[in-house]
């Protein structure tokens, strides 16, 4: 039984990372029907910007590096929407995939030029260094930050969508963008804001997770796969779905590690195939209009 706490903690932490990486993706797809392959690039930029902002060795500036990195990525997101995404709304999925894949490649190249090919590290901030004891087990303290951020993002998004005018507009844009536009809402501006918000969430995810990973070129590609699995399983456009799917995928990974370590990385895919076979539109998604 002594490993249960560790496994649960590991699952929660993995699920939180997945949720942070996919919340923005599902938000953007839900409101704008755009499949953004460059979403992983935003995550990567969040992490890389943190490595630059945090200060060498000490990591003393971590707590302001995270929001600054996230906001910087939001600005990049707004620029991407204005420059590229705006021109591919309503186009075929293939066009969108190609355009956002091009962005993915460009951003990968940019990151390589700016930060080089070598792995960079972000020191864990002092206050969350080391581990804490939960039920007799040592859990990395920083896991609390990741899980806490994921919960804050989840609750924050829920409140935004439930209570604010912006949130209602986002939901209305999912239902019927034309009627929203014709009622007097500047849809283009709304889309820029939503895209920037999605980018901000990805950047925040990358920044918050950076102390636990080796920040290298290529994390953009590895995170996007997980984020897409979570988004599709949860139901495209559903924040709640992304949270539940992140937990499921995290748990299936943990279960895989315990049951058949050699096949561990296959388990999330098996979970995905099983769920999509029963509900092709995902757990909380809706069949295509």
């Amino acid at each position: 039984m002594d490993t249960v706490v560790i496994e649960v903690s590991g699952t929660l932490s993995a699920a939180s990372s997945l949720f942070l990486a996919s919340a923005g993706l599902t938000l953007i797809f839900g409101a704008m029907r755009v499949i953004n392959l460059a979403h992983g690039s935003f995550y990567m930029f969040g992490a890389f910007l943190t490595t630059s902002l945090v200060g060498f060795a000490t990591g003393a500036r971590f707590w302001w590096a995270v929001p600054v990195a996230a906001l910087a990525v939001a600005l990049i997101g707004a620029g991407v929407e204005l420059g590229v995404i705006r021109h591919i709304y309503g186009k075929e999925h293939l066009t969108q995939l190609l355009a956002t894949y091009a962005l993915f490649l460009i951003f990968a190249d940019l990151a390589l030029r700016i930060w080089g090919a070598e792995s960079r590290a972000v020191p864990v901030p002092k206050s969350f260094f080391g581990s804490i004891e939960i039920a007799g087990e040592q859990i990395p303290k920083y896991n609390l930050v990741i899980v806490g951020t994921a919960i804050a993002v989840g609750v924050g998004l829920w409140l935004l969508l439930k209570l604010t005018t912006l949130g209602w507009r986002i939901r209305a844009a999912v239902d019927d963008p034309e009627s929203l536009e014709a009622s007097g809402v500047n849809l283009q501006l709304l889309f820029t804001v939503v895209f920037a918000l999605g980018a901000l969430l990805a950047g925040l995810g990358g920044a918050v997770i950076s102390p636990q990973i080796a920040v290298t070129p290529g994390i953009d590609g590895s995170i996007i796969v997980g984020a897409f699995i979570v988004t599709v399983v949860g139901g495209l456009g559903s924040i709640l779905g992304a949270a539940v799917a992140a937990l499921l995928i995290g748990a299936s990974e943990t279960a895989g590690t315990l049951a058949a370590p050699d096949w561990a990385s296959t388990f999330p895919y098996i979970a995905m195939i099983a769920i999509l076979a029963v509900r092709p539109w995902g757990l909380f998604g809706q069949p295509e209009r």
């Binding site: 507009r169 009627s179 009622s183 007097g184 809402v185 849809l187």
Partner: protein, 263 residues
């Protein structure tokens, strides 16, 4: 309400909405072929035509959801042919689409409150509270998800959503479509209410009998062109025009007799 056809220049001046020689395409298909139309505040105008005649396209071209390739669309003297839909809305044109196009994942109350904030600079007598007063049925279901409303309730909600933006002109696209006959009767009452409030209403309808009963003037759109323009009385009494719309004049007389009117 009289029609000032004797003086077209004065008419144009009076018109809050002026559509002039508009051509609209879907791809290579020439849907609207030089359509002109005018509408003043306080006037209810029927836009009649069979399915596929271009009625919806005309409404969409006015509000900018589909851009007209040439011609002019003027709202209060300002050319909006190339304007974005939200700009047209903020100039006082409310588009009420056909079918079940409410914001389904929002509650009734959220639908109305959201729309009431869409044109913040437009002031007028209509508020969410007044919509509930006017349509008490909506107040009863205000917490319900809009996708679970009946067809009639959705029609009410779409109308309420348009009213809270305090427009000058409402463009109604096939409001009777899919409604039970009882609800169509209510819709007629709502139209009379809109007329009483001084709104201009452009009523695109396949149900010509219904539309002509509640309008001052009418246009008949056929294959993308205006075939006829005249007063509602003229239209109702022309067997030829009505049969072109699939309505027999006898049916009109029967309905009129039942309602105790003379045609």
């Amino acid at each position: 309400m009289s029609v000032l056809r004797s003086n077209p220049a004065a008419d144009e001046k009076r018109a809050s909405l002026l559509v002039r020689d508009v051509n609209t395409y879907y791809g290579a298909s020439h849907v609207l072929q030089g359509v002109s139309l005018r509408l003043a505040e306080g006037e209810v105008v029927a836009l009649l035509g069979r399915n596929g005649a271009g009625k919806t396209t005309l409404l969409r071209s006015i509000v900018g959801l589909t851009r007209a390739r040439s011609g002019g669309v003027e709202v209060g003297g300002r050319d909006v042919r190339k304007a974005a839909p939200h700009t047209v809305a903020r100039l006082g044109i409310a588009f009420v689409p056909s079918g079940r196009r409410v914001f389904g994942s929002l509650s009734v109350d959220e639908n109305l409150r959201l729309s009431s904030r869409s044109c913040p600079r437009r002031k007028g007598p209509w508020s969410v509270a007044r919509v509930y007063e006017t349509f008490p049925k909506l107040a009863d279901v205000k917490a319900r998800g809009a996708r679970h409303l009946s067809g009639g309730e959705q029609q009410m909600l779409k109308l309420g959503r348009a009213l809270v933006t305090n427009p000058n002109i409402l463009l109604l696209d096939e409001p009777t479509e899919g409604l039970a006959p009882v609800v169509v009767g209510q819709l007629g009452e709502w139209l009379e209410l809109l007329r009483g409030e001084g709104f201009g209403v452009l009523l695109a309808e396949q149900n010509a009998m219904f539309a002509l009963r509640h309008s001052d003037r009418g246009y008949i759109l056929e294959k993308g062109r205006i075939r006829f323009e005249g007063s509602a009385t003229e239209l109702r009494s022309s067997e030829e025009l009505l049969s072109g719309l699939g309505v027999s004049a006898r049916a009109v007389r029967v309905v009129d007799a039942a309602e105790g009117r003379e045609s």
